[in-house]
């Protein structure tokens, strides 16, 4: 394969909340069609990184380049339009709307007529949701809601998905389901940047892994090499070196 443009490039990204600076100059590059896992301790800046890349949070300095285009000054609405989507941590759906309505809302920015058929395809991919079409999202279990949120993100056929802690609160079985879906998406060509506390699981399916500590990238490498790296293992995987 010829050298492709990185799907996403971030240079010197700084961001924070008020006077609290969280990201202190993050550099990273994602190749298209890969999964990159972001691991690190709590408070290191992982979620902040995703939110800043998506545009929910404004960067104080640095650049974000998406498929060769500088999107640093674009709002999140614009970034969605370019095919960049975020599946945030915690509940991010509409609890008083049904599963079906939520999926429709996922396609809010679309103006074409293919929404219905795409929804049906989602139901084929995620059987769990198919059986709960008319259930109010707020009454689904945590794992079901997480799946729904991933499905909502897929409604705009994204090029890059930012996923924040997909396995949080899920049983191992559910986690496998979600990671499986993520892997399938990667195989179809979507680029994925995934924050995960469950570092072992994440690095197993990831092409690359990066460790964020105190707002900067500390280690990076391929998934397998990170799993073997003794320092990484000890500090972040909870495994003996």
């Amino acid at each position: 394969m010829a050298a492709e443009l990185p799907a996403l490039e971030v240079r010197g990204l700084r961001a924070g909340y008020g006077e609290v600076v969280v990201l202190r100059g993050v550099d990273l590059a994602l190749q298209p069609g890969t999964i990159t896992a972001v691991i690190g301790a709590n408070g290191a800046g992982k979620s902040t990184l995703l939110r800043t890349i998506f545009g929910l949070l404004r960067a104080t300095s640095g650049t974000i380049i998406f498929a060769g285009e500088d999107i640093t000054h674009l709002g999140s609405h614009g970034r969605l339009g370019k095919g960049l989507v975020l599946v945030p941590q915690g509940r991010c759906n509409f609890p008083m709307m049904t599963v079906d309505e939520n999926l429709q809302m996922g396609a809010f920015t679309r103006t074409d007529r293919g929404v219905r058929s795409d929804i049906e395809r989602i139901y084929q991919e995620f059987e769990l949701l198919a059986g709960r079409r008319r259930v109010l999202a707020g009454n689904l279990s945590g794992g079901e809601q997480q799946l729904l949120e991933m499905a909502m993100a897929l409604m705009i056929k994204p090029k890059l998905i930012l996923v924040d802690e997909p396995s949080l609160g899920l049983s191992p079985g559910m986690q496998q389901l979600v990671f499986g879906a993520i892997t399938r998406l990667r195989d179809l060509g979507t680029t994925i940047l995934m924050v995960e506390q469950n570092a072992v699981q994440a690095l197993r399916i990831a092409n690359r892994g990066i460790v964020i500590e105190l707002g900067v990238v500390r280690h990076e490498g391929t998934g397998p090499s990170m799993l073997q790296n003794p320092e990484v293992r000890r500090a972040y995987l909870g495994l003996p070196a």
């Binding site: 929910l56 999140s76 945030p88 991010c92 609890p95 996922g106 707020g138």
Partner: protein, 288 residues
């Protein structure tokens, strides 16, 4: 029997009035999570604009009414830009005090500019029809019909219009709405403008029935709140239904108990409902 029907009409009219105001209040709370203590004054402004259009500018009632409602559009935008926008992410105390401050500001501004005494707003709809021995005033019919039309439009708006669906989405989960690409700022602005329009419609149609005075907002806002609470905060349909019920309760209390204590009865009903069902009659309890 005559009295009963009269009170029924009064009650429905009062209910419609409260409902138009309560709907706007509930909408603003649902979408922006702000309890707007100045909402009664928006209603009062609608009536004041009507008065100004008729007496100072010399418009006939019909055009004056339309004009006064139309004025609520830019006013709503102004209100959003100057006040609402700045108190969006603050604690509820800040929002409450800010809107209360706006209320104080507006009431006294009107007093200073136009004077405190009540003003009369004439309307051509003065005829009272007599059907089968029952008296029905034309103006009251206008109020009822306008209210019904407004609510039907509102319902369709929420159900079918993209902006309406966006409003429901923002009301349920603001961050999720941003994440799917809804521009929450615009939706917030639309919600404020919509609630001003509703209040304006109430003002323009009710004004000819009663006197127009600076304090008319505070008189009705408490009942509007009662309706919103009873209906479940953020539930527009619930607010509307509760408002009608409260309007009827008020009318019948005036007739059969004593006009002074009518307010007490209304409160009593509200407190009773809340003691039995703190989330309101229509408030739904969802798991998380």
């Amino acid at each position: 029997m005559q009295v009963l029907f009269d009170q029924l009409m009064n009650g429905l009219t009062a209910g419609a009035e409260i409902a138009l105001i309560a709907a706007g209040l509930s909408l603003m709370f649902g979408v922006l999570e702000i309890v707007n203590f100045a909402h009664g004054e928006l209603y009062m402004l609608g009536a004041i604009f009507l008065y100004i259009a008729e007496s100072s500018l010399g418009f006939p009632y019909r055009s004056a009414a339309v004009l006064s409602v139309a004025t609520m559009l830019p006013f709503g935008a102004l209100f959003y830009a100057v006040v609402v926008h700045r108190i969006l992410n603050r604690g509820w105390q800040v929002q409450l005090v800010a809107t209360l401050a706006v209320s104080v500001l507006l009431v006294n501004l009107v007093i200073v500019v136009l004077g405190a005494p009540a003003k009369l707003v004439p309307s051509p709809l003065m005829t009272t029809y007599v059907i089968g021995g029952m008296r029905i005033s034309e103006q009251r019919i206008l109020v009822l019909i306008t209210a019904v039309i407004a609510f039907v439009l509102l319902f369709c708006f929420f159900r079918f219009a993209k902006l309406g669906k966006a409003m429901r989405a923002v009301a349920q989960n603001r961050e999720a709405a941003s994440v799917v690409g809804i521009q929450t700022e615009r939706v917030g602005l639309a919600a404020v403008v919509a609630s001003c329009l509703l209040a304006g419609v109430a003002g323009a149609t009710i004004a000819p029935l009663y006197n127009v005075q600076p304090s008319m907002g505070t008189a009705v806002i408490v009942k509007a709140f009662a309706a919103v609470i009873m209906g479940g905060f953020g539930n527009v349909t619930g607010a509307i239904v509760s408002a009608v019920v409260l309007g009827l309760v008020e009318a019948f209390s005036i007739a059969y108990i004593a006009s002074d204590y009518a307010d007490l009865v209304v409160f009593g009903v509200m407190i009773l409902v809340l003691v039995v069902r703190p989330q309101g009659v229509f408030g739904r309890v969802v798991r998380r």
